[in-house]
Symmetry: C2
Subunit: 333 residues, 2 copies
């Protein structure tokens, strides 16, 4: 059997080898992903994000156990930008995997390759496509919600869980930080700490206010996409759940809240729209990569652009003139 046949036959080692193949961007990885696309669309992507130390890993493990109990299969991607020299990611993986069954119903991979060629967001999406084509029911993606890359990843999910702690600030600050825009479910973890009740009440009240005055706009999910590519989603008021992941308290409630969002998402066209947005972002990315590589290879190389920048710094031109001129050269070529 070929590797791909073994993959379709649910051989978990074949999955693991194809992930490595795609991660390393070996020759033919795009063709492979292209061939697998028709097999995708069966998995839902759940993104779990939040500040460092909010307890995301423990929550993701807890959620995985709840989903396994329902008979579901799960592929986990932990986007962990730990610098290579700490070795933190690998050590963490082993500890985490020991808690989960090794019978093929759950698979775990961490992406510890910040700054990798091709981009972490694209690499994460590629692994999610592999999980989906392999046949997992859910793809759980865990990121630290700080950088631009992590936001691209979270925006590509079907369900977004924002994890905060009682010390994370008040509801108005969440609103100002844009968290109420990205969250489908809010999880206040470490809810044994003081202030949890108040933050939950505060947040529910703020979401209630928002819910009546403006539906969540889906058009801003991708900042760099070619098209707005979808209308507005049906206004949804995120649930607010209080958990204590370390003791497991209320993780079942979080699971239920996600389940309710999924039920509504299937009734409305939420997931279909989000999948369209994701595909639009993917096409945009593929086109941009083509444009930029052709541009750099055939119109203006690194030295040309550095020269133009010198001219701007010398006050002889400006970025708009340079952009106009280079773009015309590209089109006349």
């Amino acid at each position: 059997m070929t590797l791909l046949e073994r993959f379709h036959d649910h051989d978990i080692r074949a999955l693991s080898r194809l992930i490595t193949f795609v991660e390393n961007r070996e020759e033919g990885f795009r063709q492979l992903l292209g061939r697998l696309y028709p097999k995708t669309g069966g998995a839902l992507r759940i993104g779990v994000t939040g500040p460092p130390g909010a307890g995301k890993s423990t929550l993701v493990n807890g959620l995985t156990k709840e989903l396994l109990r329902e008979g579901r299969t799960i592929g986990i991607i932990a986007v962990d930008p730990t610098s290579p020299f700490t070795g933190g990611a690998l050590l963490g993986d082993r500890v985490r995997m020991n808690e989960l069954p090794s019978d093929g119903r759950v698979f775990f991979r961490s992406m510890a390759t910040r700054g990798a060629t091709g981009g972490l967001a694209a690499a994460t999406d590629n692994v999610a496509v592999l999980y989906d084509a392999y046949g997992f029911d859910f793809v759980l993606i865990e990121t630290v919600g700080v950088g631009q890359v992590e936001m691209d990843i979270i925006n590509a999910c079907d369900v977004v869980v924002v994890v905060i702690v009682p010390e994370s600030g008040d509801a108005i600050q969440m609103l100002k930080a844009g968290l109420t825009e990205i969250a489908d479910v809010f999880c206040i973890n470490k809810s044994d700490r003081p202030g949890a009740q108040r933050l939950a009440a505060d947040l529910k009240y703020t979401l209630e206010l928002r819910g009546s005055s403006q539906p969540a706009a889906s058009t801003a999910r991708f900042a760099h996409t070619l098209l707005p590519c979808a209308g507005h989603e049906h206004g949804h008021k995120p649930a607010v759940v209080q958990t204590e992941a370390t003791t497991g308290k209320n993780v079942d409630a979080l699971h239920r809240a996600i389940g309710e969002f999924i039920k509504r998402g299937h009734e409305t066209s939420t997931f279909e729209q989000r999948r369209r947005q994701r595909l639009c972002a993917k096409i945009t990315e593929i086109l941009n990569v083509r444009f930029q590589s052709e541009f750099v290879n055939h119109v203006a190389g690194e030295q040309d652009i550095l020269g133009e920048i010198d001219n701007i710094i010398a006050g002889q031109t400006n970025p708009y003139e340079v952009g106009d001129r280079l773009y015309r050269r590209f089109r006349e070529q």
Copy 2:
């Protein structure tokens, strides 16, 4: 006198009107910015970022007072993604401006336009260009460090101050979140709270370890740029300062730490490199906008792309095939 002459004559109302002109992207705003570019390069951009509730606004006001005391002039941009219906930003502006002199040595503008056409990062950069050309010594940019847009803004600064609080997590978590990569100065605010001393010591130790093993890579500052466009910056170990912004305690120490970073930045080529990266990102953005608008207007409109997405969902094609085909059509056109 024309508006532009009054602007060059340091008429603050002319500045204010040009900002509005550029923010609204009125006809000719690109030409205006292009003409002003030769006047830029004199101002340093200081970015202040951190989680909601860390006390950034109070710190920025405190820093502004320190800079005024030194005889410097300051343009402030508060990137405040408050939804329009709360009115929070405007109210906040008035309160904040009452604390600062109104003699033209400091100017304040908030950008409360999340999801605006053209993008918040581009709008912020445009206002920074106006401030620079107007002649301010410093541009202070305050953002909530959550989304992708905010990271684009912070990455375009000469000096990055990351504000955290004792509850933000431990040093390893900061490292994992990528904060040690973007920070030039760490500010632990609300340092009267328990855990501040320990976090400071922890962070210094972690930065010491990192400092010896890898220099800060500058190439990853912009994820969407055309070229790496610069070498590596001289490895710099961020200072760690503990402040209590509300009482003003140690804000002078933060000011000194920033001053020391600036001194070193002038001695090495840090600011020159960062300015080059910023200009490279600007040129890339201008080219991408041209490419995408030409693409959508002349190659494949919204309906075409939505049709391709339908075909992908129906399993008849995949994003790579679509990207290839559309790009070829663009080039053959």
